[in-house]
Amino acid sequence: MDLKDRLTELKVKALSEIGTVEDLKKINEIRVNLLGKKGPITEVLRGMKDLSKEERPVVGSLANKVRDELTEAITQRREKLEIIKTARKLEKEKIDVTLPGVPVKAGQPHIIMQVIDQLEKLFLGMGYQVVDGPEVEEDHYNFEMMNLPKDHPARDMQDTFYITEQILMRTQTSPVQARTMEKHDFTKGPLKMISPGKVYRRDTDDATHSHQFHQVEGLVIDKHITMADLKGTLQIIARTVFGDEREIRLRPSYFPFTEPSVEVDVSCFKCEGKGCAVCKYTGWIEVLGAGMVHPNVLTMAGVDSETYGGFAFGLGPDRFAMLKYGVDDIREFYLNDVRFLSQFAQKG
């Protein structure tokens, strides 16, 4: 058999062997055996020294071709086997993806704080500052500076926890208005503030009354503030908290520290104003009180009521949360049952 035939036979045999091998180790052995220094091709190439000058390049070229072909075949086979091997390995690593994930420990803000946060974000965006005030307040700021002198009948509207004759648990966040106005330098621009916080009333706790609840006070004082500005601001509050579709309506009311004073209703978000249990079949829900700051309040705080004026509003995050989430017992907010609190974990 001449070298050419040997090469051809070798190729056929080797290709068949490569094609059937199933083991990565084996294919390595085959490579070493076939293409190594002691392999048949090397042997053929060594035998070339006995060939004629004419035959040498022909056989040499053939031998190289066979070696290339076999190298290629081995590479391909090895790649294939590697893919299979990986697939088998991954097959073994299969897990049950329907098993539950490892819980991530996460708390969340109290629902009332979520309402307050939402309002703070809204008002910071409109250039208001957030101002805090004392919870244990002076009668002077809580009432008198709010145009509620001693013996004013409207004091009956708010039963008060007194500590001494002059010191009390604040019944409203309004005293922060007076405290802030006193300090504000109007030559440096308008006063735009909100003041969220706890307030206290001498009330027996039941489903709709709590001796402790929250308020967010709002106040804007500048040279040209109108009641239309108040109406527009209230509309934004209603739409931010209760949805973009909401309308508001103002009704006359009475607060000693504003004149005119209004009660603000928002169109019912449950029934879209058609009438349901939430809005007591009126289509409207009372949500807050507001008005134009009473000149006496401005004057007492040292603000020139001829030049300056403005609006104020006060709203109850507890009531907002009750309405928005259908909570029917205000006490839930302060008992902190984990099962209650955790219901409000959702963002937004």
Partner: protein
């Protein structure tokens, strides 16, 4: 104030359905509580005539009645009312009728006798107990003799009147009267009112000065008038009057008292009637009560009078508490014949004080507190005197006694169209504004957009331009106002540093897995003073409502433990709550406390539950400490140390640490003392409380970037066997102090106590990390430093290096 639309029609021509009217009032004037009528939902309730009443043979309290209900046959009705009688007009609920509470009345048998319906009391057809005349309180009601059998009873009883219940705000006391309400509606609907004036006939044979002398302190009673009516027969009032009273929620009594109540409703003017013959000395004085004086009031209560109480006194002493309640002794009885009738204006703050101190919040007191129409005091008195004389066949003595009589004038307020438009953001014209003032019945003088408005005395709530602006706004309609936003100079809206730290603290704790709790700021005296972090006095309520809420809190943990207890009691055993809020520390020489921002947490039960994936993890000291460490790190607090502490008596003495930043105490962490846990009925609970204000005061700067070393670090591990009473912090601090600069970190990675080591020993394993940012560290440099420290450790703590 319950307003009957039928009564209103006497004064103003309005033909509007009551719901619509209520809506309009609500949008323009005051809130409306309800719109109702008593005959709503009632069916087949008619006038009956008791032709015959006989005893039920099988019962000692039932009677069998034959009742004429306007049909051919008499109905047989069994009746159990004690006052049933023959020949009376009664209220009959026919078979298949509906009475109050939607109860259906059927033909039935009572102890063998057929009963075709029911003879009703007023309560049974929907009247409130509080308005049913006393004589009918426990029995059936007798209709007027001229009632026609078979006709529905509703109009006889005024049940067909629509009642609008107004929730009148304190400023609109003018609407606590029918006449005031009529004026308001006239303004709303642009109508005119027609009000009846008294047509009093006085008996000129007698003069008031022969009957009584009156003295009044003008400060206490700016107006005090008295009339006397003689030869009065005290009796039941006519139906028209009774209907008006009970529809307004007032119980009819007798013609004298009823008239005073009627005038109260009509004019908003409280009146008081005295039995003239009981006034000693025929002299009345309005004065403050004297020390030791007492008065038995109409409710039969013996009251000790206060020196702030205004009283009406005769020669023997007080006979009435002015404006709030009369004295029992001088009150009207069935035998009264001569009536002294008082119409006055009392000092509103004095009345308010009396009403509060004696808990006497009457209709009269409410009106005196809020103010009454000073222009109609005398008119109301005349109208009352006229009615009493008419209804009681009496004679009004000529003239009236005057203790005081204040001058009544309209208030003039000036305002401009520009001012109104500037405040409301509207573009109203002069004529529109004039029209609104005129509709309100105000006098108007206008000169090119400048108004001089004379406000009648009935609207004493109006005294400044802002009040007029409100009148314009509400009559113009709030719905018609445009909606804009404040223009003008822009202001930045941002949190202060303190506010930002507080909000950061909240979100850091939330991301650590804690839920925010909001507990009560008022607690018991005991709970307020626990878990204290500094010496302070409690701030206590003067007049608490319950012993649970007497004192303002001086710690947040007590509230959180209340929350844990609430959860544990409801079988929720895994609780991780935090609270951010204020504590209230009072200095001994101050009435008001300092309000200090704190943050606290309470954690109990499992940190994570057993799952297919992980072992359960119980909350312990170190879980809680991890939260504190994370919080402080995130807030940029450095130089923090934890020192074992036994100074908190509410805390476990072996499991509590005080937390310091440098030398400054900022809070504590640990396990709640078992005695306290037992008191609350809660499981082992770990808590911490930090003075957030102190952290805010550090005013931590922004993080400064530290370059990361490019050279590899070298670590050395060591396990140290030490005596159990040596703390990790001692070792770590020592290692840090003794090592060279190349030591970058020391970390504890294992703690072992147990059989493999002596009973008094524990093993602590540390990893020491060495690095140099300027060059690659050589092993021998590290070894030298490490060995030096180890040998010093052995000397200092007698440790065994394992």
């Amino acid at each position: 104030m319950k307003v009957s639309t039928k009564w209103l029609k006497d004064y103003i021509d309005l033909d509007i359905n009551p719901e619509e009217l209520a809506e309009k009032i609500e949008r323009t004037a005051v809130e409306v509580d309800s719109v109702s009528r008593l005959d709503k939902k009632l069916k087949k309730i008619v006038v009956g005539f008791t032709v015959e009443v006989r005893k039920h043979p099988e019962s000692d309290h039932l009677n069998i009645c034959k009742v004429d209900v306007g049909e051919d046959d008499l109905l047989q009705i069994v009746c159990g009312a004690p006052n049933i009688a023959a020949n009376k007009k009664v209220i009959v609920a026919l078979p298949n009728s509906r009475i109050a509470g939607n109860v259906k009345i059927k033909r039935s048998k009572m102890r063998g006798e057929v009963s075709e319906g029911m003879i009703c009391s007023l309560q049974e057809i929907g009247f409130s107990d509080s308005v049913v005349p006393k004589v009918y309180a426990d029995g059936i009601y007798f209709l007027p003799a001229d009632a026609k059998p078979g006709e529905p009873v509703y109009s006889y009883l005024g049940m067909d009147e629509d009642i609008i219940d107004l929730d009148v705000t304190p400023n609109r006391a003018d609407m606590l009267s029918m006449r005031g309400t009529a004026h308001e509606l006239a303004a709303i609907y642009d109508k005119k009112v027609t009000l009846k004036k008294p047509e009093l006939k006085e008996d000129l044979t007698d003069n008031i000065s022969d009957y009584i002398q009156v003295e009044a302190d003008k400060e206490l009673a700016p107006t005090y008038l008295l009339r006397v009516i003689k030869d009065v027969q005290v009796k039941e009032s006519p139906m028209w009057l009774q209907k008006r009273l009970w529809n307004a929620g007032i119980r009819p009594m007798n013609n004298v008292v009823d008239v005073t109540n009627y005038i109260l409703l009509d004019y908003g003017q409280p009146l008081h009637s005295f039995d003239y013959q009981k006034i000693t000395g025929k002299r009345i004085e309005v004065r403050l009560a004297k020390p030791g004086e007492t008065l038995q009031t109409l409710d039969e209560e013996e009251r000790e009078l206060l020196s702030s109480d205004i009283v009406i006194a005769d020669d023997n002493g007080p006979i009435a508490l002015a404006g709030t309640m009369g004295g029992l002794n001088s009150g009207i009885s069935a035998d009264s014949q001569v009536i002294a009738l008082e119409a006055a204006v009392f000092n509103s703050s004095a009345i308010r004080k009396t009403a509060r101190k004696h808990n006497l919040h009457s209709e009269a007191a409410m009106r005196f507190e809020r103010g009454i129409n000073r222009a109609t005091v005398a008119e109301a008195l005349d109208m009352a005197a006229q009615l009493i004389s008419e209804l009681g066949n009496g004679k009004v003595i000529s003239g009236f006694a005057v203790g005081a009589q204040a001058n009544v004038q309209s208030i003039v307020v000036t305002i401009t169209t520009k001012k109104i438009n500037d405040v409301l953001g509207t573009g109203l014209q002069d004529a529109e504004i004039r029209d609104i003032f005129e509709r309100l019945g105000f006098g108007v003088e206008e000169k090119t957009g400048s108004f001089k408005v004379s406000v009648p005395a009935r609207r004493w709530d109006i005294s400044i331009p802002a009040d007029l602006i409100e009148e314009v706004a509400r009559i113009y309609g709030y719905d018609n106002l445009p909606a804009t936003l404040p223009s003008g100079e822009l202001t930045p809206g941002k949190y202060t540093y303190k506010q930002q730290v507080i909000r950061d603290t909240r979100s850091i704790l939330e991301e650590s897995g804690l839920m925010q709790a909001i507990s009560y700021g008022l607690t018991s005296d005991k709970k307020a003073q626990r878990f204290m972090m500094e010496d302070a006095q409690p701030t206590k309520l003067d007049f608490p409502m319950s012993s649970d809420r007497t004192t303002v809190r001086m710690n947040l943990i007590s509230g959180l433990l209340d929350d844990v207890a609430y959860n544990n009691a409801r079988k929720v055993s895994d609780v991780m709550l935090y609270e951010q809020g204020r504590v209230f520390y009072r200095d001994a020489d101050s009435d008001r406390p300092r309000e200090v921002e704190h943050v606290a947490a309470a954690m109990t039960g499992l940190y994570s539950a057993q799952s297919w994936h992980d072992e359960k993890k119980q909350i312990d000291f170190y879980v809680a400490k991890g939260v504190v460490e994370h919080l402080l790190t995130k807030l940029g607090v450095t130089d923090i140390s934890y020192e074992t502490s036994q100074k908190h008596e509410e805390m476990h003495p072996g499991r509590t640490a005080d937390i310091f930043v440098g030398n400054l105490f900022i809070g504590f962490i640990g396990e709640v003392h078992p005695n306290i846990s037992k008191e609350y009925g809660i499981g082992r609970t770990y808590v911490f409380e930090l003075d957030l204000q102190k952290i805010i005061d550090f005013n931590n700067e922004l993080i400064v970037y530290q370059p990361v070393s490019k050279y590899p670090v070298i670590t050395r591990d060591v396990a140290l066997a030490v005596s159990k009473d040596i703390e990790n912090a001692d070792i770590i601090n020592f290692i840090k102090a003794q090592s060279g600069k190349i030591l970058s970190k020391v970390q504890l990675f294992d703690v072992y106590e147990g059989a493999k080591i002596g009973a008094e020993q524990k093993s602590l394993a540390y990893e020491l990390t060495y690095s140099d940012s300027s060059k690659t560290l050589a092993d021998d440099v590290v070894n030298a430093d490490f060995e030096k420290v180890m040998s010093k450790l052995q000397e200092k703590f007698n440790v065994e290096i394992r």
